[in-house]
């Protein structure tokens, strides 16, 4: 029971964590990408479609990454080069992704919904470690993407705080005018951050269809992208904080399935609503945004 719950929690945390790490990089650069939900959705759909046609999971992953990166690139063009309102643009990107994936889904698979299933990615058991009671399967018998997500935590942290790229990126997020005056390429830094985030969102989306549920449903990202946004805030814009917050939400999502086994006394909608409500509660507890980059969300146009 507990094993299944822990395993599930970590598995559900993974896509959120991947997307959130990408968003962390982007926000340290001063941009808020509400469109992360759309990027995940595109990654999910196009990854699945590519796998379905080609039979190759690797190709599917590549397609997922490609689709998400393309969407993020559009977002970058509008938000960095044209310096428009990031919130509204991000919302538009989400709508765009919803529409595009819907149209393509119908075009390719028809209204009848031809059985769109694939052979999912197999979990990668890490040898004898996976047999440790209770935590073994949870920690060491997961999909490859899950391991990747957690391995990326210190890597992304180091990228942001210990590299020159990170230093310059944070400066761009703190005061883009000053960074520009110092000769930092603010636009290029933000583009790079968004492209990196595209890769991570693509992987997150791919996980949803290629590993977790081996099919696609319209709107399947179901708000995970928005949860990822909250995770960055709750994690106080630090990589380990993001990891911890992702686990928390993963646990909340895992509860859905765990507690449903307890019978129908509690309505299932409660569990479906739980992650979203929890997001709000966590944000309320954590409160102010005093640790975010100072220029987060402010469009910056080079003079």
């Amino acid at each position: 029971m507990l094993e299944a719950f822990l395993s599930s929690a970590i598995a559900m945390a993974a896509p959120i964590l991947l997307a959130a790490l990408g968003e962390l990089i982007v926000e340290q650069g001063g941009v808020v990408n509400i469109g992360i939900e759309g990027a995940m959705l595109c990654g999910a759909f196009f990854g699945l479609t590519a796998t379905w046609f080609s039979g190759s999971l690797a190709l599917g992953l590549a397609a997922a990454i490609g689709a998400a990166v393309a969407l993020n690139a559009l977002f970058a063009l509008v938000v960095v080069n044209l310096a428009v309102n990031q919130v509204v643009a991000g919302t538009a990107i989400d709508m765009l992704a919803l529409g595009l994936t819907g149209i393509c889904y119908r075009r390719i698979f028809g209204v009848t919904g031809r059985a769109l299933t694939i052979t999912p990615m197999r979990p990668l058991a890490l040898g004898p470690l996976a047999r440790i009671p209770i935590v073994g399967p949870a920690l060491f018998d997961q999909n490859g993407l899950v391991y990747l997500a957690f391995v990326l935590v210190p890597i992304v942290g180091a990228l942001i705080w210990r590299t020159r790229f990170g230093l310059e990126l944070r400066a761009a997020g703190e005061r883009p005018e000053a960074a520009d005056a110092l000769g930092l390429a603010v636009y290029r830094l933000r583009w790079q951050a968004l492209l990196m985030a595209g890769v991570l969102s693509g992987l997150a989306g791919a996980y949803l269809t290629l590993a977790y549920a081996n099919t696609f449903v319209e709107g399947m990202s179901a708000g995970r992208g928005y949860v990822a946004l909250s995770v960055v805030i709750v994690g106080r814009w630090r990589a380990w904080g993001v990891a911890a917050a992702s686990l928390l939400f993963g646990a909340a999502m895992a509860l859905q399935f765990g507690l449903q086994a307890f019978g129908t006394a509690v309505p299932y909608q409660l569990f479906l609503a739980l992650p979203y409500a929890l997001t709000i509660v966590m944000l309320a507890i954590v409160g102010g945004q005093a640790q975010s980059p100072s220029a987060l969300g402010a469009p910056y146009a080079r003079l």
Binding site: V32, V88, I233, G287, G288
Partner: protein, 388 residues
């Protein structure tokens, strides 16, 4: 932003005043043209013929009396949600939650509706609308309170509340409010007394449209002719200065989001009272999100929300016909809405300032004027601004 332009032009000639009044309308027409071009491009890439599709669209939206009235009926919820978005946006409160606010308003109305059987017609209607307003206001106030007291970003909180609202509605129609036979997840029908009258049957025209238009006028007057509206717009344009001058930011935040929620909630109540007569899960095809496009096209001016809503209502109505005729899927409307928003944002962007000035005409420039007309949206301040 049309507020400065609608201020009395002192000493200008009649022609100058006429030109100033026409400018916002010209902008609206221009955007309609842009939408059409964008749609044509999208269709071409999908392999459909734009001409045929436009023809289908037109027929579907305005072709005959029934189509026309249906367009108006489909526009009505967009007016309500568009107002909910525009009013909040004027205060730089990014209300993405009109969807949830509408749903909760509908839920409240649909919950009391069946019980209003013995009431006089007028009172029943008022009760429905009041329930809708109350439910929506509550939903909006939650996000407002979180922002005012805990600095929770309202973008995220309103989106989350949308999801929660959908689940609450789902729970209600599967459970406590489920209609007697238990055959499908819908609520019991509302009492006849609580139903809006239909004008000119078999059309579905009803009082809701008039109510919406009236609300639009009220919002316009409120925003531009009252002290409270002034304070809201000031808050949206410069938060720090507003704080300096004693504008009560916390109160305005909660009040504005509650008001926006109430408006959206009334929209939900109207839908239940006039069109659906009961509750079910898929009550809204995304009106709350479409409202963002509507609000942007209207440049946040409540009066312009009405024609903008009709434009999008026509698109929604026509797209169903379009789907039947040309096989283009209904999700296309999402793509169109998204492209409209992005195009409008790009049009407003500082980088395209010269283009904009050339098309719309540059306003009188002062010594320090960089030459760009004020944009439709209030400036997006950094998310982490602390309110002293």
């Amino acid at each position: 932003m049309s507020a400065p332009r609608s201020a009395p032009a002192r000493g200008g000639s009649a022609i100058a005043r006429l030109a100033a009044a026409i400018r916002p309308v010209a902008a609206l027409i221009l955007f309609a043209v842009v939408i059409a071009i964008v749609l044509a491009l999208v269709l071409l890439t999908l392999g459909a013929s734009p001409v045929e599709v436009f023809a289908d669209l037109w027929r579907g939206a305005f072709g005959d009396w029934l189509a026309l009235t249906d367009t108006l009926v489909k526009s009505t919820p967009l007016i309500f949600t568009g107002l909910a978005v525009a009013v909040a946006f004027q205060g730089a409160l990014w209300n993405i939650g009109a969807e949830g606010q509408l749903l909760i308003g509908a839920l409240a109305a649909g919950a009391i509706g069946p019980a209003l059987g013995g009431w006089p017609h007028g009172a029943a209607i008022v009760a429905m609308l009041a329930a809708g307003a109350g439910g929506g206001a509550l939903w909006g106030a939650i996000a407002g309170g979180l922002r005012a007291r805990r600095e929770v970003n309202e973008v995220i909180s309103t989106i989350m509340l949308n999801f929660v609202a959908a689940q609450v509605l789902s729970f209600a129609v599967h459970g406590p409010l489920m209609e007697a036979s238990g055959a499908f997840p819908a609520s019991a029908p509302i009492a006849a007394a609580a139903t809006f009258d239909v004008y000119l049957a078999p059309s579905r025209l009803n009082f809701g449209m008039l109510l919406a238009a009236g609300l639009a006028v009220a919002c316009y007057l409120g925003l531009f002719h009252t002290a409270a509206g002034f304070q809201l717009r000031a808050l949206g344009r410069n938060r720090r200065a507003s704080a300096f001058f004693g504008i009560p930011i916390a109160r305005m935040t909660i009040g504005t989001l509650a008001l926006a929620g109430a408006i959206a909630g009334v929209g939900g109540a109207v839908q239940v009272s006039a069109i659906t007569h009961r509750l079910y899960e898929t009550l809204s095809p995304g009106w709350g999100y479409e409202a963002i496009a509507v609000a942007l096209v209207a440049r946040l001016n409540p009066l312009a929300i009405v024609p903008a809503a009709v434009l999008f209502g026509a698109l929604d109505n026509g797209s169903q016909a379009m789907q039947r005729a040309a096989g283009v899927s209904p999700e296309l409307v999402y793509v169109i809405q998204a492209l409209v928003i992005l195009t409008l944002l790009a049009f407003d962007a500082s980088a395209t300032g010269a283009l904009r000035a050339a098309i719309l005409g540059a306003p009188a420039a002062g010594p320090d004027d960089p030459g760009a007309p004020p944009a439709a949206l209030p400036p997006a301040a950094p998310i982490a601004t602390r309110d002293a």
